[in-house]
Every structure is written in C-alpha cells, then in structure tokens.
C-alpha cells in the first residue's frame, strides 16, 4: 500500500472515530436522562406545581419551572431578536465593508460569546441592583438575552454575509432605500438562516442555569408578572439533584427529560418552518 493510501485510510479512521465520539455522547446523554428520568416522570410532573416547597416534597411537579423557562427563554429570545436583527442588518446593509466600527462590533460579539454564563448572571445581578429591581422574570430575561445576544447575532451575521451582492443591487436599482432592501429582500433571503440562529439561541437560553441563578430567583408558583420571581428547569434540576433524598434526585432526571423534549420539539418545529421558507431563496 502506498504512503498516500495509508494517509487516506488513517484520516478516514480518524473521521469515523470522531463521529462516533460525538454520536455516542449524544446517545449516552439521552439514554441516561431517559432511563433515569422516565420512571419518575408522571402526569403530575408536568401539570402541577411542587408540593412541599423547593421541590423537597416528593409530590406535585415542575410546572412552575416549565412555564417559567418558556417565558424566560421566549422573552429573552424576543428581546435578543429585536436587537440582533437591527445590529446585523446595520453591519451588512449600512456599514461599509471596510468599516472599523463593523469590524470592532464583530470582534466584540466573538469576545462576548466566550464569556461564561455565570458572568452574565453576575452582570445581570449588578444591573438589577442598579435599577432597584428584585429577582424577577424581567431580570432573568435581561440576563439571558445578554447571554444569547452574541450567539444569535454572530449566527445571523454569517448567513446575511452569504447574501450575494447582486441581490442588494437588484433592489437598489429599482429605487429601494437601504431600509426597504434590508427588511423586504435581505431578511427574506436569509430567513431560514435567521430562524436557525434564533433556535440555537433559544436552546442556549432555555438550558442555561448560571445566568438565572441570581436574577430570576425562585418560586413554587407559576410566574404571573414580569416583576415576580420565576422558576426555571435548569435550576429545578440543580436543586433536585442537590437534595439528599433519592426520590427527589430521580425527579431531577425527569425534569431534565422534560427540558430535553422541549428543546427537541422546538428544533423539529423550526426545521419544518425553515423548510417552508426556503422555497423563495434565490441561489
């Protein structure tokens, strides 16, 4: 066998091994969560709030955390979209290609992306104190939106940069303004990618515990106001696992299973939506 063939085979082998590592990690996590969580999962888990306070009781469920997480991640995603979309359209439609401001903004997003979520939690906490807010759904939304903003913006930026120059020109040549071009043409062309960016950010937001630990607070009841504390699934898992009671620990895996299923449902729905929107894309 020639040297080049050996190289080829070694590389193929490495690819197979890497793929297997990734796949087996996914399968093992899903299996652990399902095997340990499924026995503890029952209807009460998803339809009732906890009995006995702080999940310590073995009765009731985590409805407070399910609703709290959805509100929190949903709110943070909406807030992050409204900022990201504007920034990203500015970077790609208004700013010149050689703009220092644009380069600096992109660099900032890369740095922000790397900051651990606990730091966002602490930062959110400082802002909260500054504005005299208490731990609340709103404070949690702000902290999580800060966390997911760079992720969403960078992902959107990548897809909008792929939009061909000629498509901008086609719109400009018809006498469209930059704003019209940005929202009616460019955002539409990039819509599937934008949806993916939103989904990735939502997934990151709903699964993060550290950013909400100081900001969203905790409650046994379903949040009914932006200014009241809100429970979240990641923290529910954290608290339940932290108890010395084995039954409650099992319930942590059930909570994790619920969180996983929520993310799965959102992924599937967004895939379907993305497919629906790709039909207009110009190649």
């Amino acid at each position: 066998m020639s040297r080049r063939n050996i190289e080829e085979n070694v590389f193929k082998g490495l690819m197979v091994v890497s793929t297997l590592i990734i796949l087996s990690t996914l399968v093992l996590i899903l299996a652990t969560v399902t095997v340990k969580g499924l026995p503890a999962l029952n209807l009460a888990m998803i339809t009732q709030t906890p009995k006995g306070g702080y999940y310590l009781g073995k009765e009731g469920g985590v409805l407070n955390a399910i609703v709290g997480s959805l509100y929190l991640a949903g709110g943070a995603t909406l807030l992050a979209i409204s900022i990201s979309l504007v920034v990203v359209l500015y970077l790609n439609v208004y700013a010149k290609k050689d703009s220092h401001l644009a380069a600096f903004t992109r660099f900032s997003f890369d740095v922000l992306w790397g900051i651990p979520s606990i730091v966002y939690g602490a930062f959110g906490f400082t802002i909260m104190i500054f504005f005299g807010l208490r731990t609340s759904l709103l404070a949690g939304i702000i902290a999580v939106s800060l966390l997911i903003l760079p992720i969403m913006s960078r992902a959107m930026d990548e897809v909008i940069r792929m939009v061909p120059e000629e498509l901008f020109d086609a719109s400009y040549a018809l006498g469209a303004t930059r704003l019209e071009t940005a929202f009616k043409v460019i955002a539409r062309q990039a819509l599937p990618g934008i949806l993916t960016a939103v989904l990735v950010a939502f997934g990151r937001g709903i699964g993060d515990a550290a950013s909400v630990i100081f900001t969203a607070g905790f409650t046994d009841s379903i949040p009914y106001s932006l200014f009241r504390p809100a429970a979240t699934l990641p923290l529910a898992i954290f608290f339940q696992l932290g108890t010395p009671i084995p039954e409650v620990q099992d319930r942590a895996y059930a909570s994790a299973l619920i969180l996983t299923v929520i993310i799965l449902i959102i992924s599937v729905v967004s895939r379907i939506l993305t497919k629906k929107f790709t039909k207009h894309i110009v190649k």
Partner: protein, 253 residues
C-alpha cells in the same frame, strides 16, 4: 443620423482605491436608441454602466469625480435623491437575480415601494409588464409561485418586467444575455429592439455579433479610456482608431 442626448457624461473619473477604473470619460448617450458599450474585459464597461444609476456608490473605497447629466440634472450632485435617479432606470445584470419572493411580488416590488397600494392597479401593472417582457403566457397560471423556480431565461425576462414596472426612461443591461442559452438570448434581444421605441437602452457586451445586431450607437472603451464612440455603422464598419480596428478584427480580446 441625428441623435438627441439623454445621458450626458462629462469628465467622469472613477477610482477603486488607487486604481483608476475610468479615465476622463466624456460621451453623450442618445435618447431612445440602443447604445452598446464594448471593450475587452476589465476595461471599465460595467463601471461606466453602474455610474449611470450610481450603483458604483456601494463599491468599496470608490471615488467618483466628474458629472453625469440626466434630464439636465447632475446625478452625482449630493443634493440629488438617489432613489429618484434609480427609479428612472431599469437594470439587467449578467446573471438574473430575482428577489426572494413570488413572480407577482417581484414585479410588484418596485411599484409598491414607490407608493402604489391598490390591488387592482398592481394586478394590472404586473400583467402589463409581464406581457411586455413576453413572459405572461408562461407564468399567468402560477403568478404566486416562487420566482426562483423559473428557468434562467425566464428569470431574466422577469427581471426585465420588474425593471420596467417602475416606469423608467432608461434600461441598463450589464451583459444581460451572458448567462442565457441562445434561444433565451434571442428573446431578450428582440425585446430590446422593440423597447427602444419607448426607452433609451444602454447595454454592455463583449459579444461583437450582439453589438452588430443591436447597436445604434457604440462606445468603445479600453483600459478605462474612451477610445472611440459614434453611430454603429461608423464604429463597427469603419472605425477611425487603430485600437478599435484591432478589437473589431478580434486581435485585442
């Protein structure tokens, strides 16, 4: 043949960074005729064309000096509203780029941004211009299908309809048939020959045969310089300049 001027270019210089893409161009583009800009690749043909609707503005590090008069107005005057200038011109690019929406919405895009909201009126406009670009019969049953599903030739005619729908005075074509098959190219050329009764048409091409079929007036550029311009029968049949002669004989390419 007498020509009435529609676009008057005076001492136009365009720089990309330090590279001088157009050197002191002065030329008059005749009204309601087909003007063809010829010259080897990289000679500034497209830059000149894109100066007319100021699409050069969006290029990187571009600097423009000189004047381009359209209806007596210098389009590079800072006070000029750029969307107003662009509304007067339809553009066909090398490869057709339909907007990411339906066939109907592509044609209605221009009229809508310029303020037409009435559904009946929009429907009439869409039908009229799709007919004028001879696409109507092929798409009338699927107006709300995505424009991206059309063939390239159909897409280019859709782009023509889309450009005409903003009621321009001028049609600009940047090698508008280069991505098309011969049959589709022929249809586009026929459209041009009919449209020149109502519109001033400026086309960039590197296909000499196309220039011969279409041109009333010819502009020959070489490395950013205007070498020769004049009525087609003069330039294409009996050019004065040595360089034009060589290009037409096919020596420079």
């Amino acid at each position: 043949m007498e020509f009435k001027t529609h676009i008057s270019v005076q001492n136009l210089d365009v720089f990309y960074g330090t590279e001088r893409a157009l050197k002191d161009i002065t030329v008059d583009i005749p009204d309601k005729k087909i003007t063809v800009i010829i010259g080897p690749s990289g000679c500034g043909k497209t830059t000149l064309l894109k100066s007319f609707n100021r699409l050069v503005d969006s290029m990187d590090e571009v600097k423009v000096s000189g004047k381009v008069f359209l209806d007596g107005e210098n389009i590079f005057d800072p006070k000029v509203e750029i969307t107003h200038i662009r509304k007067k011109m339809g553009l066909l690019s090398q490869k057709p780029f339909p907007l990411p929406m339906s066939i109907y919405d592509n044609v209605a895009y221009g009229p809508r941004i310029h303020g037409i909201r009435d559904k009946k009126e929009l429907g009439r406009i869409v039908e009229h211009y799709l007919k004028q670009s001879s696409l109507w019969d092929e798409v009338k049953d699927r107006l709300h299908a995505p424009a991206s599903r059309l063939s390239l030739g159909q897409q280019q005619r859709l782009c023509l309809a889309r450009g005409l729908a903003v009621e321009p005075e001028i049609i600009l074509g940047d090698e508008p048939t280069s991505a098309l098959d011969p049959k589709s190219s022929q249809r586009i050329e026929q459209r041009f020959l009919e449209l020149k009764r109502e519109y001033t048409i400026v086309i960039v091409t590197h296909i000499l045969r196309q220039a011969m079929r279409l041109a009333d007036y010819v502009v020959f550029l070489y490395l950013g310089e205007l070498i020769e311009h004049g009525p087609a029968e003069d330039i294409l049949v009996d050019p004065k300049e040595e360089m034009t002669k060589e290009y037409i004989k096919g020596i420079i390419s």
